[in-house]
């Protein structure tokens, strides 16, 4: 039995943390001011480190990383508070595109691809209502992650009685893209498809990729929670009120012990999910998201007024936590589904 990272995982973790740098929020702000709220140069850098290729199979021009390898990177990105949507525009497209020609450009970082799965009025459902008809796609998608900047949309649709995914370039005839800023500062998009021609569906299994994505999201959440806990520990040791560091107050110590306990439980739940033991990914992600959100709220609270500003990492981390908590279904839904299944 061994829960240590493998040597290569340690290498990926170190590389990722180096990429994130000291996590200065100025860099994050700069990225968010770019068109579509996205920094192409940083993305190229990430791709250059092989981190997108990690998620693609060896036969598909990638490094064939395991889900555990990918979770290691996601957790490090969370800890480093990266602004880059590696899960949404790296991991998911690499898994879905697999052997398609477009995969190479995604792995190289020159094409920004994203999954268009959510539909207006269908809450967290991942089975598309949008249907193909005569080789065309018509309907609407919402909350398309980083859709404001993306070049290629992987659009889910009902096709020949099953869920399928079609690659649709941003400039496809009949496609309208409307970007809007979301919690983590990135720009999601609404898509209107009006008779957009589609080719062959991608070969990948959508539900399986979404389940993997839930686990990778959970890993990033663990990283974010760790980061916010670490920043808060640092802060309460240095912030003085009433002539002493506020970390000397017992109520603050106990609160942070609770936060620590929840972070460790989240880490263990993540490992369990990576071992494919027990609960379905949606439930595990829900459990971890609840913990991370609670830790994030405590981080804001214990920073006092400072926690309310856009200057600190705290708020950015909390907002990313909230967004990942909802992505592919929220905690209430995921945990309730596990309840139904276990019953």
């Amino acid at each position: 039995m061994d829960f240590d990272l493998s040597e290569t995982q340690q290498l990926f973790r170190d590389t990722t943390l180096r990429f994130c740098g000291p996590g200065d929020t100025a860099a994050r702000h700069a990225a968010r001011r770019q068109p579509g709220g996205f920094d192409r140069a940083r993305w190229q850098e990430l791709a250059g480190l092989g981190l997108i290729g990690l998620a693609a199979g060896e036969g598909d021009g990638g490094l064939g990383g395991s889900l555990g390898d990918c979770a290691t990177v996601a957790q490090a990105l969370g800890e480093g508070l990266a602004a880059e949507p590696w899960l949404e525009c790296g991991f998911i497209p690499a898994r879905l595109l697999a052997s398609r020609a477009a995969a190479a450009d995604v792995i190289a970082g020159s094409t920004l691809a994203t999954l268009a799965f959510a539909e207006p009025g269908r809450r967290f459902r991942t089975d598309p209502a949008l249907e193909t008809a005569g080789g065309k796609l018509s309907g609407a998608k919402t909350f398309v992650p980083c859709g404001g900047a993306a070049d290629l949309f992987l659009v889910t649709a009902r096709h020949e009685g099953r869920s399928a995914v079609f690659a649709v370039p941003r400039d496809a005839a009949g496609l309208t893209v409307q970007g809007y800023p979301v919690a983590d500062g990135s720009h999601a998009a609404q898509l209107v498809l009006d008779g957009v021609a589609h080719g062959e569906p991608l070969a990948a299994d959508l539900d399986a990729v979404i389940d993997e994505a839930r686990i990778v999201a959970a890993a990033e959440l663990v990283g974010l929670a760790r980061r916010l806990l670490a920043d808060t520990l640092e802060y309460v040791k240095t912030r003085e009120q009433f002539g002493q560091p506020i970390g000397r107050f017992q109520v603050i110590q106990h609160r942070l012990v609770d936060a620590y306990a929840r972070v460790e439980a989240a880490q263990s739940a993540l490992y369990r999910a990576l071992l494919r033991l027990g609960a379905p990914p949606a439930a595990v992600k829900g459990f971890i998201a609840d913990a991370a959100q609670w830790v994030g709220q405590q981080a804001v609270q214990l920073h006092g007024g400072m926690g309310m500003t856009d200057e600190l990492a705290i708020g950015h981390g909390l907002k990313r936590i909230v967004l990942l908590g909802k992505l592919f279904g929220d905690a209430a839904g995921g945990i309730a589904a596990y309840g139904r299944e276990a019953a």
């Binding site: 959510a118 207006p120 009025g121 269908r122 809450r123 967290f124 459902r125 919402t142 909350f143 809007y180 800023p181 979301v182 919690a183 500062g185 999601a188 609404q190 003085e240 009120q241 009433f242 002539g243 506020i246 107050f249 109520v251 603050i252 709220q297 804001v300 609270q301 006092g304 007024g305 926690g307 309310m308 500003t309 856009d310 200057e311 708020g315 909390l318 907002k319 909230v322 967004l323 909802k326 279904g329 929220d330 209430a332 839904g333 309730a336």
Partner: protein
């Protein structure tokens, strides 16, 4: 024990309702509903303030001689409740609820004559200069200095988290006038005009993209000695009086219940994942009911304090309980809203305001667009006006005798 209102009180309630129906314009309602920050922008509050001022209903906490309406605690409650139900904008507290009552109680007749009418008319807009980078919860350790030179005080130092300092033409500040005295004894309460070269205001943007907060710097700023409230060294006593108003000076339950009502109505139109609408989702329905119970109980807690006040019993440290419970309930209600709207609650617009013609188009509904900025900004409720941790310590000591 009864909850019955007298015929006079019911007549008053009806009068308030009629007034709101006639005078609260759609523009004001829209702005109030679509403000995700804690404080409403002055162009909105000025207009509503003028309406209330004309009616004589503005300064509910002030004695009648200074322009207060002379209401009983029950009338104040009924007024707040009707305003919450009608969706009236929150008024700027700094002038009306914080410094106003202080000037009424501690000011000289000259100060009262000079400042109070201009608060009522909206001519003066105030901000609060208490907190400093090094003095938050431990307010008494504040360092901003005021030195008396002839007929002026010269002020040096900085205040932080000054809400709406960028709109204000006056700031009331706690300043250190005697560095040698015991911490609390060296503090004075000073009124300082903002429009002068010695004062600079720099914006602090919130995690929800709102600009309410600022840091205010004093570099040989000046104010006349006639702008000292009370005596030198009396600042701490005055500050504590003000904080009690800040913590317990209003009724929060009606607005929480009104918000829960709005969330429930919205939930009837949000489809759930497994058929039906979110209103009927068992988990959601239970959370909604739980929060209703808490808010309903909270309403009675608030009324119990009002009833005490009406009988002339002082409210005292119970105001800490009101602040504590109200703040946490508000955050829980906000969380219910983001959980209801799902992906639509993830939009976080950077443009402001979210009302009027220039407001960015919402994804889904306007309520969904407001949910996350509100949730984020409302994290502040458990921080300002004495944090949760500070309130609990006060209650433990002063109420539970620990």
């Amino acid at each position: 024990m009864d909850l019955d209102f007298t015929p006079d009180e019911l007549a008053f309630q009806a009068e308030v309702r009629t007034f709101l129906a006639e005078r609260l314009s759609p523009r004001l309602r829209e702005a109030a509903a679509n403000t995700p920050s804690v404080f409403v922008e002055p162009d909105i509050t000025r207009e509503w303030q003028a309406e209330l001022h004309a009616k004589g209903w503005l300064a509910t906490l002030w004695p009648r001689e200074f322009g207060g309406p002379g209401w009983t605690p029950v009338q104040k409650y009924l007024f707040e409740k009707e305003c919450a139900d009608a969706g009236a904008p929150a008024l700027p507290v700094q002038g009306l609820k914080l410094v106003g009552p202080v000037i009424c109680k501690f000011g000289t007749p000259e100060q009262q004559a000079r400042f109070l009418p201009r608060i009522l008319s909206g001519e003066d807009y105030w901000c609060q200069g208490y907190s400093e980078p090094g003095a938050g919860s431990d307010l008494a350790s504040l360092a901003c200095r005021a030195e008396r030179r002839g007929d002026k005080y010269v002020i040096n130092g900085t205040k932080i988290w000054t809400t709406h300092a960028h709109h204000a033409n006056w700031i009331f500040a706690l300043v250190r006038t005697d560095a040698s005295a015991r911490k609390q004894d060296g503090i004075s309460f000073l009124l300082i005009p903002m429009d002068q070269p010695g004062i600079t205001v720099s914006a602090i943007v919130s995690i929800a993209n709102d600009h309410e907060l600022n840091q205010t710097f004093f570099d040989n700023a000046e104010t006349g000695v006639e702008n000292l409230i009370g005596a030198e060294g009396q600042g701490w006593t005055i500050a504590k009086y003000l904080l009690e108003n800040e913590r317990g000076g209003s009724c929060a339950a009606p607005s929480l219940l009104a918000e829960l009502g709005r969330i429930e109505r919205a939930a009837r139109d949000v489809p759930a994942d497994h058929g039906g609408m979110m209103r009927d989702d068992p988990h959601f329905a239970q959370r909604l009911a739980q929060l209703r119970l808490e808010a309903e109980a909270f309403e009675i807690t608030e009324l119990r304090i009002l009833a005490d006040l009406a009988k002339g019993r002082p409210a005292g440290p119970q105001t800490s309980l009101i602040k504590l419970v109200g703040a946490n309930l508000r955050q829980a209600v906000d969380t219910l809203a983001i959980d209801l709207y799902g992906y639509e609650a993830m939009q976080l617009p950077t443009a402001r305001p979210l009302y009027g013609n220039a407001a960015p188009e919402p994804i889904g509904s306007r309520s969904a667009q407001l949910a996350l900025p509100r949730w984020l900004n409302d994290r502040a409720w458990t921080i300002f006006g004495g944090s949760d941790e500070v309130q609990k310590t006060i209650i433990a000591k002063q109420v539970l005798g620990l």
